[in-house]
Symmetry: C2
Subunit: 412 residues, 2 copies
């Protein structure tokens, strides 16, 4: 069972929009046992779309298509579909009523553009879109299934989850595909590969390994295709792997530094607060992106100015003067100040030079001090996170969350 994913849109090919849909669809198809052969992005051009359809039909059992279903003139997927499946547009009454209701609810009136959203190729099964105006469409041709979905991510996701995937599941037998991802922090890809080289050499020949590096994190993914014992094969290898790199592992599969920290804090019924300088609220944003974080997250102060560090976090003015705002003394004081201010069990504090300006010889761009504190202990470390502003913020945030995780685990 194989799949191709075709994303349609000039905006993708000029790079104005990042293709998150393809990744999301691939992830879901994988869980359902489909192997994605290829992802293809083509422009809003009839011939290019038709070519891609033909090629994908040769390669895969199912073809998921997104984009080009909007009401505006650059959206041509529907007429192209009609040509490819040798059919014509018809007005769908149910979709029409739904579109009309949506338009009216925002105080609009039905115009020709909105009305065109209710037209669908006669040859397709309509996938009703309860949260948007563009319905999905299900076609079949020469034993290949073509599914066309709107490009708006949350509409596409809802249609996939509620209609496309259940239908695919009922139509195909799910093969034995297993994945397990082990997530590390604080060690580079080469170092990690070297450290586990002996284990990798002896890896079971049906277990495939992949390294997935991103700023601050390296994931190791183990996969087995087409073996019903896959889960056990992977579990055996994972158990061996963990003994070699346990220091660096913070989670598995879809875990994130913030979700793992959240889980531990919830279990221990402890609270945390943050005091951020160069990360500018990013750690707070990550912590609060976890549903249920209000149980353990009290609040944050983003203290860009020294004045605020002194006033709100009880940092000593003389420490800032003597050591600078980016220093062990100041970041530890910030952490302790946050615990006191927010009355939490734990706190995270960061102070650094995110760049591109503000660097000195002694403290170049990328220098970041991170402190994590409990009521009785402060741990701090200095890092160099490179020269790219976004990357500095991202790596500092991930590192800080993982340092906090370790201190919470070590605190009784």
């Amino acid at each position: 069972m194989t799949a191709d994913i075709i994303t349609i849109g000039d905006e993708l090919l000029i790079g104005q929009v990042v293709n998150t849909n393809a990744a999301w669809i691939a992830q879901k198809l994988n869980l359902y046992g489909f192997k994605v052969n290829r992802m293809i992005t083509v422009p809003d051009s009839k011939q290019e779309i038709l070519n891609a359809f033909d090629e994908s039909k040769e390669r895969s059992n199912i073809v998921i298509i997104t984009g080009g279903l909007g009401p505006t003139s650059d959206d041509i997927t529907k007429p192209v579909m009609c040509e490819y499946f040798n059919t014509s547009l018809r007005l769908d009454e149910e979709v029409y009523k739904h579109v009309e209701a949506i338009i009216k609810s925002v105080g609009g009136i039905m115009n020709e553009l909105n009305k065109s959203q209710a037209k669908v190729p006669a040859a397709c099964k309509v996938l009703f879109n309860s949260i948007g105006t563009a319905p999905g469409m299900w076609f079949e041709k020469d034993n290949t299934i073509f599914v066309s979905l709107p490009g708006v991510p949350f509409e596409m996701e809802k249609l996939m989850t509620e209609q496309v995937l259940p239908e695919l599941k009922s139509r195909f037998n799910i093969a034995n595909i297993f994945h397990r991802t082990i997530i590390t922090q604080g060690i580079g890809e080469s170092m990690l590969a070297e450290r586990i080289a002996g284990w990798e050499k002896k890896l079971h020949n049906e277990v495939k390994i992949a390294y997935l590096p991103s700023p601050g994190i390296v994931k190791i993914r183990l996969s087995v295709y087409g073996n019903s014992d896959g889960k056990k094969l992977i579990a055996d290898e994972e158990a061996k792997l963990i003994t070699i790199i346990s220091d660096y592992i913070f989670g598995f599969d879809n875990d994130t530094p913030e979700s793992v920290l959240g889980k531990i804090l919830t279990e221990k019924r402890k609270t945390v607060s943050t005091a951020e300088s160069c990360t500018g609220g990013n750690i707070s944003r990550l912590i609060t992106s976890v549903s249920g974080s209000s149980e353990y997250y009290i609040g944050s102060i983003v203290a860009y100015s020294n004045e605020l560090k002194i006033k709100d976090l009880n940092v000593e003015a003389k420490d800032i003067e003597q050591y600078g705002a980016v220093s062990q003394q100041v970041v530890e004081a910030m952490a302790l100040g946050a615990i006191k201010k927010f009355n939490t069990d734990f706190s995270i504090a960061v102070s650094g030079v995110a760049g591109p300006t503000g660097g000195t010889v002694e403290k170049p761009v990328g220098t970041v001090w991170i402190a994590v504190a409990s009521k009785s202990k402060v741990v701090s470390n200095k890092f160099s996170f490179g020269t790219d502003r976004d990357r500095v913020v991202s790596r500092a945030s991930i590192t800080a969350l993982n340092m906090m995780r370790k201190l919470v685990l070590a605190t009784h």
Copy 2:
């Protein structure tokens, strides 16, 4: 002058990594006058990679390839390159010394994996990678240029910017491709399309239009291909367009709500602070993502708890009791409290129900109150931002930044 972009990696096809590289490369190629015909993502499989090379060679003048150049066993791009270009690997002395220096700087020693990074196909021109261990490679075959780059985004970006694009520029004549993007906030795609339908009908036939919707924002892109007067053609249409939708336009091209707000605050020499509840630090993160924001951004309090709203922002306990934390009274008090606490000219405050829990009949998930304040004025509004947590945070943040922009502009 046309281009294909091939991204290689199993991690992309199982959806574990979002393909940001393709968008980044496409954007740059576009600026240099290359039209991207297609983006293709293939697995770490020799045959699939070779097939993609063959197809892209038929379609485009240049083929940019990323991924599969790491030191680990799943990275096979280099041997595949050798096969495709009928060549073999050689050890590059300069790259070897560089890799060795990088490994030593992080306290490592040269192992076989690292050493393999210094091996390059004999037939290629090496693109020296000063910030990573995998060099880029430049090949030519039957008048098509193939460039292979590492998959790590910031390494790929640096090689593109400093070596690939300048070389392409010197080899090709840049065609006349012009783009202009007009960015709106606070109006949906259909409504916008309807409002400008009359203008669109009379649009110059060489000016192409595209709508690019994302949460809270709709961009309108105008493009002209292959006409040296393109800039003027677009400017004329843009001038007419602006008169129709000026209320909704907050910026152009690469502007973001946070960059535009920053520009205005810098010009006016005014400062801003934030008091966030449901957005959890996201507005602060956006503001501080702009280089130079320390000039106008003082700080933020993320007040997840009511206690903190009362203590730090002078919100009246009785207002929270009577109206709830998600209310006009409380969000306006938060905004005024932030101005006072941080001693800024302006402030942004947000309080809402991000979900998935916490909703009530009266205030369902997605209900968000936003207030923006100057020293003499508070403007507040209630919004419904749907039921997806990330989307609620994202739309609330964008809307708040745009409300702040308007108030700053209206303040003398």
